[in-house]
């Protein structure tokens, strides 16, 4: 993922189907190609399969059918040894945050860099920088478990971008945020994207992609709607 060949996309998904046992079809025949450096919104109703799709991309879940390639690597065939390297290059902000409640905010964010053996000084600097950007500087030493949901959400976002990964996956990153904090988070993502990072944001918060020039993809019961379908579905939803 260090080199960025312009011809191959960073993410290539071909007819991926994911079925949770026993018979929940979370994704069906999803095909998707995302070039390096794109910023993209993934939307759809609750239960449509947004989180599942992100999990396929970062290799937490595997498709039952189809192919998922990240940076040219087939995630089903990738060697166990290569998985950590790949994950270090993917920053995922989980919908349920996955923070360590008994660690401080700074430690939680720093973890993403520690696993990549970043130097402690670099980590400290980066953590402070991110906390300032997200207006959380005063929570630097607070335990993550004591934070409000909105604060935890921002910490999760900070951890996802901390190691300057090549790919950021944000699952509902503004679900618990007011409009001001939402803007901070979105500004951070935009900044990362300007530096060349590919950013995928799964959300049902229309306000953050309303006026965007970026691609907006919609999932409906596990199927990816084509651009045209999306307009139709929007029409259907109108009163």
């Amino acid at each position: 993922m260090d080199t960025k060949p312009t011809d191959t996309p960073i993410i290539e998904i071909v007819r991926a189907t994911k079925i949770y046992s026993p018979d929940v079809v979370a994704l069906e025949n999803v095909s998707l190609s995302i070039p390096y450096g794109e910023m993209l919104f993934l939307t759809g109703m609750s239960g449509a399969g947004k989180t599942t799709l992100l999990k396929l991309i970062c290799g937490i879940e595997h498709p039952d059918k189809g192919l998922v390639e990240v940076a040219g690597k087939d995630l089903d065939r990738i060697k166990n040894k290569e998985i950590p390297r790949l994950r270090q290059q993917i920053g995922m902000a989980y919908q349920d945050f996955k923070l360590l409640a008994d660690r401080t905010v700074a430690q939680n964010i720093g973890m993403a860099m520690e696993v990549a053996y970043q130097n402690l000084k670099t980590i400290k600097k980066r953590v402070i920088e991110l906390l300032q950007k997200l207006r959380l500087e005063h929570k630097h030493d607070a335990l993550a478990g004591r934070l409000s949901r909105g604060e935890q959400q921002r910490v999760a976002v900070a951890r996802a971008v901390a190691n300057s990964p090549a790919l950021i996956l944000a699952d509902e990153p503004t679900g618990n945020l007011d409009s001001k904090s939402t803007k901070l988070v979105m500004d951070l993502f935009r900044e990362c994207n300007k530096r060349g990072t590919t950013v995928i944001i799964a959300t049902h918060d229309e306000s953050i992609f309303k006026d965007t020039d970026h691609r907006v993809l919609e999932l409906q019961s596990g199927r990816l709607l084509q651009q045209d379908d999306r307009t139709i579905s929007a029409l259907n939803n109108m009163p």
Binding site: I60, P84, K98, L100, M111, V115, A116, R159
Partner: protein, 295 residues
Amino acid sequence: MKFINTIVVQTGRNLQKTWPSQFMTLLTVSLSVLIFSFFFLIYTNMINTGEKLGDDLRLTIYLEEEPVLEMQAQLVKKITNFSPVEEIRFTSRQEAYDSLAKQLGENVDVLDDLDPSFLPPSIEVYPKKNLSTLAEIKKFSEYLTTLPGAIKVQYGQEWVERFNYFTKLLRAIVILSGILLIMTTTFMVAYTIRLAVLARQAELEILRLLGATNNYIRTPFLIEGFLQGVFGSSLGLLALYFLYRWIKLNFTGPGILQLVNFTFFTPAIMAIIIFASVVLCIGGSFSSMRKFMRI
């Protein structure tokens, strides 16, 4: 360097979190090392003493008659035929009497009424060191009894046998306590590492999601095992050293301990004990991780 820094921080955090169980393990390891090395120390000292006693081992053959010179030469030939010896010395009745008189010193008058020839003549045989085992000495002594004119052969049988028995017993104890050491150490370390792994389950899960390598996750636990081994065994040896000093101070009067030159382990042996403990502890930690970490 970055790797080391990160790992050290990580290990420090682990220890902070699980120090009570870590401390218990440390004590268990040192206690096992103490028990084992205590018996081992006694054993090595016994062996040393045995060797030293073996150095002045001699067999005395009591004879009916004083052998004439020709006979002496024959006896020497017969003895050396069986086994090469360091030295053979003949003692006549008169010499035996004189040496007894000398030993009695002022009380020499008890001998006044006795015939100076009441003591039998004898041959003292100093065997070469190759006669190390009790069985060999026994065989040699049995052979010596068959010499012409021999009445009796003495070499402190009872004492040698008892010593031999005791050494064997001690060897068994050393082996048993060694097994105990191996079991308690590996099991206890494996157990604490298991606790540590379980206590950090949530964290390990997240670390894996963030892209932590197996080494990143494993190394702190191995370091913990290493520290347990180093400090546990050092502590055990230190305790043994104090015990040793105390025994030396309090029991070096007349008696067996004066005869035995009681010494502590050489640095090389201590290094081996520490090294073995470290290997055991790391092994315990490793086996525990394999079971509980899906690595």
